[in-house]
């Protein structure tokens, strides 16, 4: 094979990426257009009515945007107290030891479990617990979905944070130790400030994962089309309303679901882009 042919082949393979991504955006945008045109872009995003009564169809994405934001925010909140200790355990306290390797294997495996199995576990184990504790009568809801979502994003936040914690130069830490600081103080005064932006960006990427998680949320959130009144209420996320209704919707409803898909795509793309840029900066610094 000569060099020219080789280069052309690689180039063609690389062209797959722009073609696929362009195709994604094009497909979503053209099919979402009808909904945006019919309701108006802003109105679609801010209307909380999702009603399929024949002749008076009204589709608004607000309940699902709210549902997504609530589950994601709660999942993040529940994830921090676990992912941060894991990151410190692996990246600082027991850096390079066998036990750290075991723990990071465990978190890697957590990341590997399919989301439908997380959903099953949430439904058959966590949901009865929520009902037994009288937290919510029906067991399903935003809270239940968020708890399982939190477990799912711990590995993403933890492994990346650990990487940044590992990279904190030893000289800095030793300087603090020689001044008599305890390990806890070194972590607070040296490790966190130095690795902070990296840790922060790893949480941004974890948010990116939580936003689009579908099956777990569909199985646990209760699937009602209203804005959740509280964290124990049932609702729907952007991903779960698509999972629930895409198979049977047509016309305006189909277009509205695709429009929700487009919005979700844009939000996750934005979040991921911010995360990646921050990580690049943190790595250079």
């Amino acid at each position: 094979m000569n060099d020219k042919l080789y280069k052309a082949l690689l180039f063609i393979a690389a062209m797959v990426m722009p073609v696929v991504c362009g195709g994604v955006v094009y497909a979503l945008a053209t099919d979402a257009y009808a909904a945006f045109e019919h309701f108006g872009f802003l109105k679609f995003l801010t209307s909380s009515e999702w009603s399929y009564t024949e002749g008076a169809e009204q589709y608004g994405a607000l309940p699902f945007i709210t549902g997504t934001l609530m589950t994601t925010a709660l999942a993040l909140l529940f994830c921090i107290p676990f992912s941060l200790p894991v990151a410190l355990f692996v990246g600082e306290y027991f850096k390079g030891t066998r036990i750290a390797a075991i723990l990071s294997t465990v978190t890697d495996l957590l990341a590997g479990i399919p989301s439908i199995i997380y959903g099953l576990w949430g439904f058959y184990t966590l949901r009865p617990l929520i009902m037994a504790l009288n937290i919510s009568p029906q067991g399903s809801g935003v809270l239940t979905a968020s708890l399982v979502l939190a477990i799912m994003i711990v590995p993403y936040a933890a492994s990346l944070s650990a990487e940044f914690i590992k990279m904190v130069p030893n000289e800095l830490k030793e300087g603090a130790y020689s001044l008599g600081a305890t390990h806890a103080e070194v972590i607070r005064k040296v490790v966190f400030p130095v690795a902070g932006s990296g840790i922060f960006s790893s949480y941004i990427l974890a948010i990116g994962r939580a936003l689009g998680e579908t099956m777990t949320v569909t199985m646990l959130i209760g699937n009602t089309n209203n804005i959740p009144e509280s964290i124990t209420s049932t609702g729907n996320s952007m991903a779960s309303i698509i999972a629930n209704q895409f198979g049977e919707a047509d016309d305006l409803r189909l277009s509205s679901l695709i429009a929700i898909g487009l919005v979700l795509f844009l939000i996750t793309a934005l979040i991921n882009m911010i995360g990646k840029i921050m990580i690049k900066r943190a790595r250079i610094a």
Binding site: W50, E54, G222, G247, E248, A249
Partner: protein
């Protein structure tokens, strides 16, 4: 054109033809989960007659009708007949063939409560979120012999578009002006509170798993899961259980020629008020996509088999009710209008 070609190919490919003069076909249909167990048996038995094969996907009535409109199935199954608007949207004329009758039951999960009586307006208020507690005075009045708990009611409903939802809300619309005004009837309705699940079995599953819940499901799903269900007061004020007899009683009235009719809230004696026909819907002109004439014939053979006494006899075994004679008669007449490239398929 493609159809003609396909038909030619099919006829050329002949060989050992069976008694009714056609090759075994693979038919595909999709739709309602409500009559699924009935269809499972009937399709299997039909397959034994001529080695035809019927693939059926229980994806909900809403999905079935969409698939028919997209012309990717031979038939759709739905517990809700197509509305005039849907008929207009689907463009080509369709024929409704009722296949059996069934009941939508109000299944509940209440510790220690084995008998529960309900009336239409109370059901409407429960699902509208107006009656919130099990020990509500109106529920207590209907159930003088039962101690109902002081717990919140959890309504369970469908997350997917469903003929069962249509039948249920169609009933509520007839018995409750409040329901008619606020929610109306449809395959999907915005229930204000509670929890949703996918398909009839999904709803049954959630009810079985959730204390103090109540939901509407096709009767056989409550039977199979051994979930108790309520007796419901009909228009005459009789408290009726869903049985083959009480469902049949609901269909004793007039049936229009195209069989599209709702039999909820029947005023007949002993009628179970949330009864329904369930339909298979096909195109009147069977030449579409790349279907062969033999496929069209097989589709009609299937429908005739379902209308036969043999198939209707199976209904009670799976907790459905057989069709009244009039519905069968009308359907056989309607099937004569089915054409392939404009020529009647049945001579």
């Amino acid at each position: 054109m493609t159809c003609a070609l396909a038909a030619m190919l099919a006829s050329c490919g002949g060989g050992a033809s069976k008694e009714n003069g056609r090759e075994p076909q693979e038919l595909s249909g999709a739709g309602a989960t409500f009559p699924l167990p009935f269809y499972n048996v009937v399709f299997e038995k039909f397959g034994q007659v001529n080695s035809d094969f019927v693939a059926y996907g229980g994806i909900g009535s809403g999905g079935g009708v969409r698939n028919l409109r997209d012309k990717i199935v031979d038939f759709a199954a739905s517990d809700a007949f197509l509305s005039d608007k849907e008929m207009a949207e689907i463009k080509n004329p369709v024929i409704h063939v009722p296949t059996c009758m069934g009941a939508v039951v109000l299944a509940y999960n209440l510790e220690g409560v084995e008998k529960l009586n309900l009336s239409g307006d109370v059901i409407a208020d429960i699902f509208a979120g107006e009656i919130k507690m099990w020990n509500d005075a109106r529920l207590a009045a209907l159930n003088p012999d039962v101690t109902l708990p002081a717990e919140a009611i959890i309504p369970v409903f469908r997350s997917d578009g469903s003929g069962t939802t249509f039948v249920f809300t169609d009933y509520l619309t007839k018995v409750s002006p409040m329901w008619k005004e606020k929610f109306g009837a449809g395959k999907s309705v915005n229930f204000p509170s509670g929890q949703a699940a996918k398909g009839n079995p999904g709803v049954a599953g959630i009810i079985a798993q959730t204390k103090n819940s109540i939901g509407y499901v096709g009767s056989e799903y409550a039977f199979a899961q051994k979930i108790p269900y309520a007796r419901i007061a009909n228009q005459r004020g009789e408290l009726v259980e869903p049985t083959a007899a009480s469902i049949s009683a609901a269909a004793s009235g007039e049936i229009p020629t195209d069989t599209r009719c709702s039999i909820t809230n029947s005023d007949a004696e002993g009628a179970y008020p949330i009864s329904t026909f369930t339909w298979i819907v096909i195109y009147k002109e069977q030449c579409y996509s790349d279907r062969s004439k033999e496929q069209a014939q097989a589709t009609l053979d299937l429908l005739h088999y379902i209308l036969s006494d043999e198939a209707q006899g199976i209904t009670s075994e799976v907790h459905y009710a057989p069709l009244p004679a009039k519905a069968k008669e009308l359907s056989k007449q309607n099937l004569k209008q089915v054409t392939y490239e404009g020529v009647a398929v049945l001579q």
